[in-house]
Amino acid sequence: MSEHIAGEDLAAFVDGTLQGKEKAGIESHLSRCPECLEALTEIVEIRSRPVKIPSDFLRSALKVPDEGTLGEKEAPARTALPMRLAFGIAAVFLVVVVLGYFILGGGRSRRARFPLEGRDDRPLAEALSPEPAKAEESGRAPAALPEPARAKKAKSGAGEIMSTAKSAPVAQAEAVLKPAAAPQDKATLRMADEVAKDRRQEAEAAVGGVQAPAEKDRLGETKLAASGAAGVPARVEEYQSADAKMLRSRPAGPAAADGALQLFLAATGRAAAPLGLRIAALAPGPFIRIEGDVSPADLRDPGVLREWTWFRRGTALELAIGPDGSVTAVSLIGTWDRRAGALAEEASGKLLFSPSRKSSRRAVLTADDVPL
């Protein structure tokens, strides 16, 4: 028996790179040499079952300490983790913004697109005038009012509101709303006139039980000049009309931004969870809107409002809030029966808002059956 096959020749035979006589010689040797035949068989079997070496072996071979890296696995992980984290945060933020737009902001913009049933939806100048429909139909200035104080209030209020009503956001909002609201303008105004008249009568009947507050700022836009016997109905009208104006003057964009901001504040722990309020609003029960110097996000426990089943539509509560967030005074606005009024005063006193540097804040709570 001649010498065994050299390692490289055997490898070449396995790879199939040998040709001619060289290949025939190897075949001849293999057919008569059991050792080389066994070696060939083992090499073929080893090559057909690839294995992966443990990293410990490589560490030992490269003399790398255990906590070191081999340049294959650990090194990319150090740079990949922050990128992954950054993308994760970005994705969460995107989801929050989208949710804020559709859940929190979308409702308000959608609410403002259809006429508010049973609500005085006219501009404040018309709402404060005694005969709005007539004035609009005749196209002339409203007639003189019988009471001097009322005429003075209407004149001053109209002047102020007209100046603000022609500001850019309001004009834009009215331009957006005009096509949808145009066919129903006359019917809506007539209905609003009737509703306002009914409410005025109801308020005059209940004037003994409700105290009209002194002069206060109204959302930083108007001043309530009226007082005494005309205070309550004028105040109701003013709230309703200013409310409608505010709805008109809030397009979808800022509303969505507010929603996202509320959610962001809740996520960062700077305000109570606004989602709780919105989820509560979607559940059966009264829907309560909070406006003024505070927002729903400032309410510490929004779930409390779900229990306010006595809070009826068309009524409102004005709250004075101290720097620590507690309610310092409660004013009932609109027509309240005695029991509901007592419940409102008691429940409002238990509300707690987020603290602020301002010495006093004001909130107006209005009830509605339809969630925003």
Binding site: L37, E45, S60
Partner: protein, 254 residues
């Protein structure tokens, strides 16, 4: 390949026109050459760098080819420490005498295949030096048995003079059959003999043997070879055809 490279060289360096189309073709060939160099010549470049005592290249070699070394080692030992020792021994032998073994590699085969062959050889040498030539028996677990199993007694009861005689006759017949088959196999040519041994004695798959011996129809080749063996064995006067067929069936593993 040389012709292709020659044409490429002519296009790249020849006195052709320097218009835009020629330059585009030259650029394309340049890209192809760079890719060929990048993918095709990596083994040679790496080995050249290792032989120049480049530490980074040696580390790259270890990272790239340790799987093949390890694959050759795990066949012969299951012990972790032993595998580690053999692995480091193989690397040490490869580095020995300024990479003398690697220097002898002539690129007749793939580097990975050659490393498998060399690693197997070095691993066997290492283990034989430690345990002797029959080191593979180390894998067989020796379990002490208190006394003989019960079935041996049962078998002992069945042994009679008649059964002993029949067993001896079968053993003798088998020996004659094996020697006759060995003679028939020896009369085959080298290629046929190698195929039969690889398939029926070493247990390789017919498909694998066909790839090794570059036979497109290995099944037909083996069928013809078996027919030859059968013919040779039939010429032997002592055995009848049925016995030969039984013996052949017992030998084939598939």
């Amino acid at each position: 390949m040389q012709a292709i490279m020659g044409n490429t060289f002519a296009i790249l360096c020849g006195p052709g026109r320097n218009d835009a189309r020629t330059l585009d073709i030259r650029g394309a060939f340049l890209v192809i050459i760079v890719f060929m160099k990048w993918f095709g010549g990596s083994d040679a470049d790496l080995l050249r760098a290792v032989l120049e005592d480049d530490t980074a290249a040696w580390q790259k070699f270890i990272l790239g080819y340790s799987n093949f070394i390890y694959g050759a080692i795990v066949r012969y030992t299951d012990d972790y420490d032993e595998k580690m020792a053999v692995y480091l021994h193989v690397l040490e032998k490869l580095r020995e005498d300024r990479f003398e073994r690697l220097r002898s590699f002539a690129f007749k085969s793939k580097l990975s295949t050659w490393l498998t062959v060399v690693s197997r050889r070095l691993a066997l040498d290492f283990l034989r030096s430690r345990y002797g030539r029959d080191f593979s028996l180390k894998k067989v677990r020796v379990v002490s048995i208190d006394g003989e199993p019960a079935y041996l007694h049962l078998l002992a009861d069945t042994v009679t003079p008649e059964t002993k005689l029949a067993a001896a006759e079968r053993r003798e017949n088998r020996q004659h059959l094996e020697s006759s088959m060995r003679q028939a196999i020896d009369k085959l040519d080298d290629r046929e003999r190698l195929a039969v041994q690889l398939v029926y004695f070493q247990g390789l798959k017919i498909k694998e043997v066909g790839r090794l011996l570059k036979m497109p129809s290995a099944y037909k080749f083996l069928a013809r070879t078996l027919k030859k063996i059968r013919g040779e064995m039939e010429r032997a006067p002592r055995f009848i055809r049925a016995e030969i067929e039984d013996a052949l069936e017992g030998e084939s593993h598939e």
